[in-house]
Structures are given as C-alpha cells and as structure tokens.
C-alpha cells in the first residue's frame, strides 16, 4: 500500500490540461491569481468563475477533489469573512450592542471569500493535473533566468526530484523501525501529546541515521555516474512546446486581457 503512495495530490487521468506543458500551467496559476486581484465587482468575478469552470471541465478532475483543498482553508475563510463584515465602515444596515454590519462590509466579505476560494481552486488545479516530477522540470526551466543572480536553480530542482524519489522509501523505513520498536515494547499509541511526541524520538534517530547513510550512498552513486552539476547536461525528455501549449497561452492571455479591460471599464 505504501508503495503506491502518490505524493502531492496529483489526480491521474488523461485530459487536455494534463497533457499541457508544466510551464503553461505555472503561467496559468500565476496569471489567474493576479487576475483575481485586478478584478473587482461581481461581473469580474463571474468572468473569473466562468474561466475556472471551463478549465475544471477540461481537466476531467472531479470537483470533490477541489473542494478537499478548501477544507483546510475553512478557518481562514471564516475569519476573513467575519473581519470584513464587522470592521468595514459604511452605510449601516444592522446594529446590535457594539456590533454593526454595513452594506459595504457584507459586500467586501462576500467578494473576499469568493476571491480566496477561486485562488485555492485555481492553484490546486495545477498540482492536481501535473505530476510532481513534471512540476519540478517546469520550475527548473521557467526559473532558469534566476541563475544570473546566482540562485542554483538546477541544484534545487535536482534536490526536489531526489526528495520525491525517496519519500516512499523513507515512509517504508519509518514503518519498519516502528514495528521493530513495537516488537520491543515501545508504545506509540497511548498518552497525551507530549508523551506521544517523546515516543517519536527513538523513531526519529534511527531514521535520520539511515537517511544520512542513504544520502552518502546516493552521492557516491551519482558521482560514479558522472554527475557534475547542471553544466552540459542533456535531458531524455526535454520540455518542448506543442501547438496546444501555444493555444493555451493564447487563451490564457485573452482571459487576462479581458480581465484588465473589465476592471478598467467597470466602476
């Protein structure tokens, strides 16, 4: 079961959105978030919603997966809504004791919640439709320009992909160590939070020791296979733009332009 673990929240299916170059999806996420902050008023948000629905339908990812991402945000959503409702000044429509609710307050609260919901769904669309490996590749390619200011983009991407490869192995290892400790009478189940945390210590130490040993082995294996940084490295599957990627860029820009125009024209 552990072996089948999927990292992140990638939803495996075949759709137009899944097949897009990861760079396009990164651009989508970025521009979509910006567009949410440019837009104001119900018309803009209806426009953003329509675009989001279009992408969701194309991605073939069931809506409940998007909603799952929202559950973790619930507290933040409620808090930001309450703050807006009570603190925004304006034409008062309801008053009780020291609390007052203004018309403008309700309006901003609703818009704020809608904006946050769209933001979360929009960015989880990327992780739902892109494998972590593709995502790493896409990030490496699109952030390449940062090399100019000496940010080791290739190295960071390599670390990310190695981390992804070793997560399932380390999870398996944790289970193994846990069983070995339970067999010798360790108790991970009972007690309060502090006691449980303390019980983790004999689990973490062997895990760290083994992780370091693995890292040292891996470094040796990489050196034996002529790894010497990103300089002069080629790729088996380099990212190349297809026709559909350019089309997606066009649609994305069209949407973004539309949003700017709308925000400028509408009061």
């Amino acid at each position: 079961m552990i072996r089948d673990i999927t990292i992140g929240q990638y939803y495996d299916t075949d759709s137009v959105i899944h097949r897009l170059d990861p760079r396009v999806k990164l651009a989508f996420t970025l521009l979509y978030i910006i567009s949410l902050f440019i837009g104001h008023g119900p018309v803009c948000y209806a426009y953003a919603a329509a675009f989001l629905v279009l992408v969701i339908v194309l991605s073939k990812v069931p809506v409940r997966f998007m909603v799952k991402g929202l559950r973790g945000m619930l507290v933040i959503l409620i808090i930001s809504a309450l703050f807006n409702v009570f603190l925004v000044q304006g034409e008062i429509i309801f008053r009780w004791w020291i609390f007052s609710i203004s018309k403008e307050g309700v309006r901003t609260a609703v818009l704020m919640v809608v904006r946050l919901v769209f933001l979360v769904i929009g960015s989880s669309l990327m992780t739902l439709t892109t494998t972590p490996n593709d995502l790493t590749d896409g990030l490496e390619r699109s952030l390449r320009f940062l090399k100019v200011i000496r940010i080791p983009v290739h190295e960071i991407a390599m670390m990310m992909s190695i981390a992804l490869r070793f997560i399932p192995i380390l999870i398996e290892e944790v289970n193994k160590i846990m069983k070995a400790q339970i067999a010798r009478g360790a108790d991970f189940e009972s007690g309060g939070l502090v006691k449980k945390a303390k019980a983790m210590v004999p689990l973490l130490i062997p895990l760290f020791v083994s992780a370091f040993r693995r890292a040292s082995d891996l470094a040796l294996a990489m050196e034996a296979r002529c790894y010497h940084g990103g300089e002069g490295r080629t790729k088996l599957h380099p990212l190349t733009y297809q026709k559909r990627d350019f089309l997606a860029y066009a649609v994305l820009l069209l949407y973004f332009g539309g949003m700017i125009a709308m925000a400028a024209v509408l009061p």
Binding site: A221, R225, C226, R233
Partner: protein, 284 residues
C-alpha cells in the same frame, strides 16, 4: 591490452575519536599491484574489511591513491583533472539497490548517466532502449523503481551503467542484499554482458559460488592481495583460504575433506557435476 593497471597502490585514511583528535592511520590498501586484461571477468574475494571495495573505488577515481598509481584506459587517476571524464569508462554498481536509483521512472534513471555526459536527446532514447534490452527490463521502462524486486533494481542499475557505454563495470557486492533468485538474475546478466559485449567485469563479492565462473579470482586480506589465479587454482588452496576467514564453495570443501581422508580426488573441484563425475571415475 591491460585496461586497468594498478601499481604499488597504497590507501590510508585517518581515524578520529569523539574529540576529533587523530587516533590512528589505517592502511586500507597495502601495496597492491595488479593488471586486468580487457574483456576479462575478474572476481575479487575477501572478508569484510579486506580492502576489496576500497580497491574498486580507486579504479573509477571515487577514491584517490595515497601512494602508487591507478591507470584506467590509459589515464592516470591522479593526473586527470575532470574525474567524470574518466568515470564514463568505468561504471559502478553498488550494494544497496535503493540508494543508487536517482529518478522516479525507470527510463529516466537509465538516462541519468548519459544525460550527465551530455549525450544529445535524439541519441539518448536509443541508448536507453538498448541498455534496457540488454538487461531484459524493457517491459518495465515506464515503471516506478519502487515497485521492482531487488534483482530487478540491480538490473536497472546495470542498465544505467550500460547506457554510458563503459569499457569496465565495477560491481561492489551487487548481490549482498538480494535473495537467491535475484542473485542469480544479476550474476547471469553480468556474465552475458561480459561474453556478448566484451565489457570487462570486476565483481567484488563474498559469495564464493559467484567466483566459480570467473576467468580470474583475486583474494584480498588485510589490504593485501594474497591470491591471484584461475578459480580452480585459488579454490584448491582450501587451508590458506580458511586462514583468512573465508570459506570455499561447499562442494569444493567436501571434495577437499574426502581427499584428506584418502580418496584420490583431483584438486579444486568447483561444481557439483564435476564432483559427481570424479566420484563416478573412482568406482570404475
């Protein structure tokens, strides 16, 4: 032609105690001279701590000599500036199959070596395909390495070496963590590569059975090279091998004990078939 040329190799490292003060200098390899012919299959045997792994790591310059020289394909490892240029000639397969697979997809892992060498993308595809074919793992090309058995993972690691088109493959106890089935898989694959591709193999192991089919067997103990010869020559020296805490293959030992008891058997019997034949001859 000799592909590996080792002359008076010495390797020392310093041991430190908890306060990081030097306690002693350990000599892991002590004056080893050895040359290995191109296309041969050489097995290095030795007990834990005999220096056999250290020796192999000198060949592809993962370790550099404290004294003496190591020459691989005509290049002195101490005098070569860019060591990765040298390492493409000698691939190395390690003991733990999990700790040497770098990518999350089989084909991408096989491509890792040639990617580092800067092989153009059009040629990579072909290299990966051929390497996987050679180790019989084509069907698993798109799989995640996590789902493979130990033997399969080691074959992927071997394919990763093959894709770099090396002249030598160094195997550092590649079967130590495998079950008998996986062990057989790996050893058979390596023999095939030696026969069909003419790749020189340096197999480090402590399983005597794996040494039987080699062209040459080298025995190390305490950092020194103590025996060097064909498997038959080496395994007929049962007493000496036992002195350096090594066992000979079971059937060899049985024949040796029987001979000691007075049965006129030949020296250095290596396989069960051979032993059976020798016994049959005795009856007539």
């Amino acid at each position: 032609m000799n592909i590996i040329e080792i002359l008076h190799l010495i390797h020392e490292y310093k041991e430190y105690d908890e306060n990081e003060t030097e306690t002693e200098t350990v000599r892991a390899i002590d004056d080893v001279t050895l040359s290995i012919e191109e296309g041969s299959f050489v097995t290095v045997l030795g007990h834990n701590g005999s220096g056999k792994s250290t020796l192999a790591k000198h060949v592809n310059a993962l370790l550099l000599p404290t004294g003496g020289t190591v020459v691989l394909c005509g290049q002195d490892t101490l005098k070569t500036g860019e060591l990765w240029q040298l390492r493409k000639n000698a691939g190395m397969v390690f003991q733990n199959p999990d700790n040497q697979i770098i990518a999350s997809v089989v084909e991408e892992d096989v491509a890792f070596g040639p990617e580092n060498l800067g092989v153009p993308t059009e040629k990579l595809e072909h290299r990966v395909e051929r390497a996987l074919e050679k180790v019989g793992m084509t069907a698993f090309r798109m799989n995640s390495p996590n789902r493979l058995s130990g033997g399969q993972k080691q074959r992927i690691a071997i394919a990763g070496m093959l894709a770099m088109k090396p002249k030598v493959i160094l195997m550092d106890e590649p079967t130590a963590m495998l079950d008998p089935v996986g062990r057989k898989e790996v050893i058979e694959t390596v023999h095939e590569l030696n026969r069909e591709e003419g790749i020189t193999i340096l197999l480090i192991t402590h399983y005597m059975e794996e040494a039987v089919d080699a062209d040459r067997v080298i025995v190390m103990d305490g950092g020194r090279l103590i025996m060097d010869g064909t498997p038959r020559e080496v395994f007929s020296r049962v007493e000496e091998l036992k002195e350096c805490r090594m066992t000979v293959p079971q059937v060899t030992e049985l024949a040796f004990e029987l001979k000691k008891e007075g049965l006129p058997l030949p020296d250095g019997i290596l396989t069960t078939e051979e032993f059976a034949e020798a016994l049959m001859k005795l009856r007539t």
